[in-house]
Symmetry: C2
Subunit: 345 residues, 2 copies
């Protein structure tokens, strides 16, 4: 059984999840579930019985569940970091604080085709993936034990992906991750002072400044942040204020899919198909929090959902991990210019 | 010229250092200075003229500077992330805040021998490396522009090392890194409440609990933290309260070297020579801060220096980077037990 543990120095929760299956003899090997290029893939069409039963699938009408004919399919993670059953069981452990590893861990299989990377997919299929994120995140947010529902994608082994078949993941957490809590604090302070959204202000400034813009569409902005931690770090966000990704409408999903496809194509060409991580920074889930605090009352004004996309083109050095302080060898202005100008069509 | 930029959402400073030499055509290649196994190594004995002139060296008496005969040698980083000359030049840039990339970036060449890893070295030489850290960190702390002097080591390519020859680094920063500031905040709150050091309390509790201990000596504790972010994360700290690493005495340096050697030997055997990062979490430098704030007045009681050692045996997934929330598949109790029991002598 996995467990959440609180670090009293960094004031951060960590999931200790030994049941993911790593044993002493294989500590220095890769994570369970890893597959090489030629190995059997449980995510490919026809192998639906090799995953846990599906939670959601978009498939041709009339085709039965857990069989062929799907376009996007969501299944529970076979090696979940957190389990859906049980109570939070908050407790003190000697000097420390712990709680049960309660949550959810799902996999969005983005396509039936093993080698169809996100950058190759049709805009329609990308929109379908966002639709799956929306449906599952909406559903998980109903559970008042969950404080945060995290949607993300790891692409490439050095970005943490253990299966090559294109997939994303959703993790529902009983706590709000520290970085999200810090972003929210900044945004809240800004709103209290100015009655304006911090993110809206920044996006507006970036559109005026122009030098860090990759692409601005009617609905979305794609840009490289002023203080980018990583080379070619990219943010994508709705231009109209919205705190909750799950409120996204179909038309916006298409527009988001279009912009993401363009960004991924540019990244792939510019950086020779780099590994990357994509994270949806959504609003915390306040279903279970409302009764606890007035802190959340202005959440819909404070927060602005956005996607953070970070290619991993240089190894992260030790002091970044240990200090929270980053050295980025590529200026975001240079990165944005390069991405804007590279020809992909 | 590199620049420090402030992230208004994460409230974190980032160094944008384009002068480190990465150009668009090589964005997806490794960092400058990388060398393969067989390539020329500027850190080997006999190649002293291929580095900038040395800042410090421990060598046989009578041997001239910048020549052979040294045991440990400190030189400026040829591709510094920060430069020593100039003023901080704090300024607003449109919506944002920036300051000049002022600091220092030095390399400790730990041994004349290319293939003598830290785990192979004599205790005497390890103590010599700590002595070099102490001397250089003491010297850099005299500069009131520097708020923090960071000593660290990247071992192995996937831990960010770009040269195989054993070396450590020192970076002097005009700001205190965010994680250090957060640790200090926790420690300060604890001290104000209890008039006891948070770190001392934790180390004492760990010695009593025992299950996460790797080794306790007269002077030092080596253990795996309760909420370890990474598999086999290890902390090493002095058992007697001390806020400042640079106050370490010769006898303690030997004792520290002994413990570190043992820990590194155990790690190497347990995890098949894993890449790792080692960071000295020292006290912030208050030479330039005293005049600004009472916050620092109790620093010597609040802070407790320690070493954080994090092997990199699994790739870090996307959501860890993006959220500050970690999943660790190996419990620290299991890791400590495995490290304690593995035979290395």
């Amino acid at each position: 059984m996995s467990e959440l543990r609180h670090d009293p120095i960094q004031k951060r929760w960590v999931i200790i999840a030994p049941e993911r299956g790593i044993r002493p003899s294989s500590y220095y090997q890769v994570q369970p579930g890893s597959a090489g290029e030629d190995e059997f893939c449980p995510f490919c069409e026809g192998n639906e019985d090799k995953t846990p039963p599906e939670i959601l699938a978009y498939r041709e009408s009339g085709m039965p569940e857990n069989g062929r004919g799907w376009r996007v399919r969501v299944v529970p993670n076979k090696y979940p970091a957190l389990r859906i059953e049980g109570s939070l069981d908050r407790k003190g452990v000697g000097y420390y604080d712990a709680m049960g590893g309660i949550g959810a861990h799902e996999v969005i299989i983005e396509t039936p085709f093993h080698d169809e990377d996100m950058a190759d997919m049709s805009v329609n299929n990308l929109a379908r993936i966002f639709k799956a994120f929306k449906e599952r995140m909406t559903d998980l947010s109903q559970d008042s034990r969950f404080r945060y529902v995290l949607g993300f994608k790891n692409y490439g082994k050095s970005a943490g992906s253990t299966l090559d078949h294109p997939h994303s993941q959703i993790i529902a957490l009983p706590i709000t991750p520290r970085n999200v809590a810090m972003e929210l604090k900044s945004a809240k302070e800004h709103y209290q002072l100015k009655e304006r959204c911090l993110f809206c202000d920044i996006f507006q400034y970036e559109i005026e400044a122009g030098e860090r813009i990759i692409r601005v569409t009617e609905d979305f902005i794609g840009y490289t942040p002023y203080a980018s931690r990583f080379p070619f770090e990219i943010w994508i966000a709705p231009r109209t204020h919205s705190h909750d990704f799950t409120l996204i409408q179909d038309k916006q999903m298409n527009s988001l899919a279009e912009l993401l496809k363009e960004v991924l194509m540019r990244l792939r060409k510019a950086l020779n198909n780099p590994p990357y991580n994509l994270i949806i920074h959504n609003s915390p889930n306040i279903k279970g929090s409302k009764k606890r605090s007035h802190y959340w009352e202005t959440l819909e004004y404070d927060w602005h959902w956005h996607i953070e996309l970070t290619p991993k083109i240089i190894p992260t050095a030790g002091f970044e991990w240990g200090t929270g302080f980053y050295i980025n060898p590529v200026s975001p202005e240079e990165a944005a210019k390069y991405l804007r100008e590279i020809e992909v069509y």
